[in-house]
Symmetry: C2
Subunit: 217 residues, 2 copies
């Protein structure tokens, strides 16, 4: 299936100072993408950007300057941040990769989300953005490991806007070893987010950085 | 990780006349497992068994005669059947592979289940059984295709009883190409069941029989 050329797009990563955000930034920069790391303060965003060869700034300014905005913040701050950035995100492709999980002594479990999933919450808060969901299962330690040249993982991309989803699939495919697989509408995002709890259980049991490959595609 | 020897166990498949049940029966028989196919009537169970080289009977009698009981019935009949078979299933390893899905003109979606998942419903109805969940994502057409010698798929096995889960993992591993990966407690079964909706969406988009492989394990 033909995917669009996304090499000229600017990608912002909100919450880009966390491991997942920095790891994605690092891999996208290496692939030749222009990446902006966003944080609460411009200084922190710039500092995190400098670490991985990206630019940086505060969340609002990087969101305004980008074509594609990856949301990699902790679930606890998800709704508040997106509500604040509604104006900056109008017309943008938003990629939600937030996993609403709880942890107790039995390990991780999926939290109930009123809107159904983090991605659907984003879509509800950002009615004028093109909301997709992806990159839920990408291991931050592998992304950040300089010894790992190729990521053996498929990225499940969800979205009701197929063209926006294709852009995100193409972005995932720029990272060596990674594929972007369209995996359904946003109403089917919950289980993809929640599957991260299973991958964490697998990681603990098998001492692995588990990811997912879709077979026969 | 060492898995137990399950070659001497008898496996019953409830709802074994459906495509998924017959497909699993066929592959397990080929692997040398003793398999009993259950159906509402003994005649139908025996007829379906004869097709794939298995024995057969009514659901209650095959459940009573087996060590491991795979539940492959439609979601609509799930609770009723398990409630009826509670006595026969005491002490048995029960493997729930039911996916509670709805379908509308936008395709498949996960149904809300009061207990959290089909597997948790089974555990609630069968307090004296060893309930696990597995085989959700196995493609019936591939299982039944005589040209497909090896299944390129991992089976995610869930269960609070680790020994029971290990038996199910070992059973999955008897089928060429298949691995059984422990993937968490029953409270994390919902997303594994629901992921079948995403695989159906993938199948439609890519004209595939999609399955899942866990990487780095």
């Amino acid at each position: 299936m033909d995917l669009p050329d996304v090499s000229a797009l600017t990608v912002a990563i909100l919450g880009g100072t966390g491991d997942q955000g920095r790891g994605l930034a690092l891999r996208l920069v290496k692939a030749g993408q222009r990446v902006l790391i966003g944080s609460r303060t411009a200084e922190r965003g710039r500092a995190a950007g400098a670490e991985v060869g990206a630019e940086g700034g505060d969340n609002a300014s990087v969101a305004a300057a980008a074509d594609v905005v990856i949301v990699a913040v902790p679930w606890a701050g998800h709704a508040e941040l997106l509500a604040e950035l509604r104006a900056e995100l109008v017309g943008k492709i938003v990629v939600d990769c937030v996993n609403p999980l709880g942890f107790d002594k039995q390990g991780p479990y999926a939290l109930a989300v009123e809107e159904g999933s983090a991605a659907q919450q984003a879509a509800a808060l950002l009615p004028e953005s093109r909301v997709t969901a992806a990159f839920h299962h990408v291991s931050a330690p592998l992304l950040l490991d300089p010894e790992v040249a190729s990521l053996d993982i498929d990225v499940l991309v969800l979205g009701d806007d197929r063209e926006a989803a294709a852009v995100v699939q193409a972005l995932a495919a720029r990272i060596p070893g990674m594929r972007g697989i369209w995996a359904g509408r946003l109403r089917n995002a919950h289980q993809v987010e929640a599957l991260t709890a299973n991958l964490i259980a697998i990681n603990k049991r098998y001492k692995a950085h588990a990811g997912v490959r879709v077979t026969d595609v």
